[in-house]
């Protein structure tokens, strides 16, 4: 236990990196997901096929392979661009790679989640918004979004839980997240089990906490809905 005490500050720093990575990637992926879902609903052939290609491609390739491609391939790409423009190439940062890759991947999952939820909002709602002269953005913000969130919530939280756990693979490209710190500390002190379990405790806290928040958010977004109860 004394090892754990010694490495506690390092683990906390790792936990901060994990949490920051997860939050930034989920923000990116929710934005991509909304854009993807709107594109799939748009009816424009080009937008629909782009969004479909995006979700099909992402769901066919493992996250880790994608991350390796972006991490190592991105460096070469940046080197080429920098050489062509004649300046010194910056090193590709593991954190930026991880945010972009995870955000991009989960954007595809959120696209499907939001698309399904948008289908669940009655057409009349958007028609009414148009009839009142709402701009498309206002109609989205005030009419579509609040109603689809209620339907999207369970799947959206599930995506977040999967995303949170996926951030651990960023440790394999050298990001100093909680998994990386636990791994290093375990090797140095020869007590790997202790540190892996410590990392697991963090993930469990975050996942269990998120599930608890879901039920509160559900109440908030279901305010206007009367639910049938089975006797």
């Amino acid at each position: 236990m004394s090892e754990l005490h010694e490495y506690f500050p390092a683990l906390l720093r790792g936990a901060r990196v994990t949490l920051l990575l997860a939050v930034l990637s989920v923000l990116l992926s929710v934005c991509l997901g909304l854009a993807g879902a709107l594109a799939k609903q748009s009816g424009s052939r080009m937008l629909v096929s782009t969004a479909t290609a995006y979700t099909t491609l992402i769901r066919g390739v493992p996250e880790f392979v994608m991350m390796l491609l972006v991490f190592y391939g991105g460096q070469i790409l940046i080197n080429h661009i920098a050489a062509a423009l004649g300046f010194h190439a910056p090193d590709v940062n593991a954190f930026v790679t991880a945010v972009l890759t995870i955000g991009f991947i989960f954007g595809a999952y959120y696209t499907e989640t939001f698309r399904g939820a948008m289908l669940g909002v009655p057409r009349g709602q958007m028609e009414a918004a148009q009839a009142y002269g709402f701009s498309p953005w206002l109609a989205f913000r005030r009419i579509l979004f609040p109603q689809m969130m209620r339907l999207a919530l369970p799947a959206a939280v599930n995506n977040w839980l999967v995303l949170l756990k996926t951030t651990a693979i960023a440790s394999l490209i050298g990001l100093h997240d909680v998994m990386f710190v636990a791994d290093q500390a375990g090797r140095t002190t020869q007590a790997p089990m202790t540190f892996y379990l410590a990392a697991c405790a963090l993930y469990l806290t975050l996942t269990t906490g998120s599930t608890a928040c879901l039920s509160r958010a559900r109440t908030r977004y279901s305010k206007g809905v009367r639910e049938g109860r089975l006797q």
Partner: protein, 241 residues
């Protein structure tokens, strides 16, 4: 550029692919087999029975697969009794020094937890009439489970399980973290040798994409077969006058 090398690396990719397929299929099969009894325990109304299973699925579903893999391969080595057993040459425990069996163990434990919860959900949504009908026919509890509850739940379980199958295939890609040269491992080796990330990882990604497509097709076939009764009927629509 390095396509010549990529052709030379074909055997390495092929053997990696074989490892990936083995890990995916064996862990899925074992996980499903173990999940059936565990799901039955999971839906038990008795706390002492469903509690331990719930704790197991809570731990597995709340932590990353990578952490579970590391715990099995590196973590268990911390225990002195295990080190002592390795010294004595215990054949079963020696498997925990082999990265392949460690990965298989971690993957099976992982998929089993998710499968248990999916199946438990399917069992909970059994229509009450089916149970009532089984009782009305005078079936014993065992017969009712075997003939009514399980077959009915396993059918409802297929659509949700299909996601788990694909996730498992993608999950195996991290086993190169414990020195296994699977498909991703072969791609990482190729990258390390030739410094050609695009060729290395796009080749692996394409193969994974193909595998995903094949698995998705097989699942759709299974659904067609076992969920045939749920397919919409073809009704002749009277022509609009």
């Amino acid at each position: 550029m390095s396509y010549q090398e990529l052709i030379q690396a074909f055997p390495a990719y092929a053997s990696g692919l074989w490892i990936t397929i083995q890990l995916t299929l064996i862990s899925l099969a074992l996980g499903l087999l173990l999940a059936i009894p565990l799901a039955i325990l999971r839906v038990s109304p008795r706390r002492a029975v469903c509690g331990p299973v719930a704790a197991y699925t809570w731990f597995i579903r709340g932590t990353p697969l990578l952490a579970q893999l590391m715990i099995v391969y590196y973590g268990f080595g911390q225990f002195e009794w295990l080190q002592a057993a390795w010294q004595r040459g215990n054949p079963v425990l020696l498997l925990f020094r082999d990265p392949f069996y460690c990965a298989l163990f971690a993957l099976t434990a992982n998929t089993c937890a998710y499968t248990t919860e999916i199946l438990a959900g399917a069992l909970r949504s059994t229509p009450f009439g089916e149970i009532e009908a089984a009782q009305a026919y005078g079936m014993s509890r065992l017969t009712a489970w075997r003939r009514i509850l399980l077959p009915s739940a396993l059918r409802r379980f297929i659509p949700a399980y299909s996601n788990e199958v694909i996730l498992m295939l993608h999950g195996t890609s991290i086993v190169s973290a414990v020195t296994i040269v699977d498909l991703t491992g072969a791609a990482r080796d190729f990258y390390a040798n030739y410094y050609a990330p695009f060729e290395a990882f796009i080749a692996a990604g394409t193969v994974y994409f193909g595998l995903t497509t094949i698995l998705a097709f097989l699942i759709r076939m299974t659904e067609r077969k076992y969920l045939a009764h749920l397919r919409p009927h073809r009704v002749a629509v009277p022509a609009a006058s």
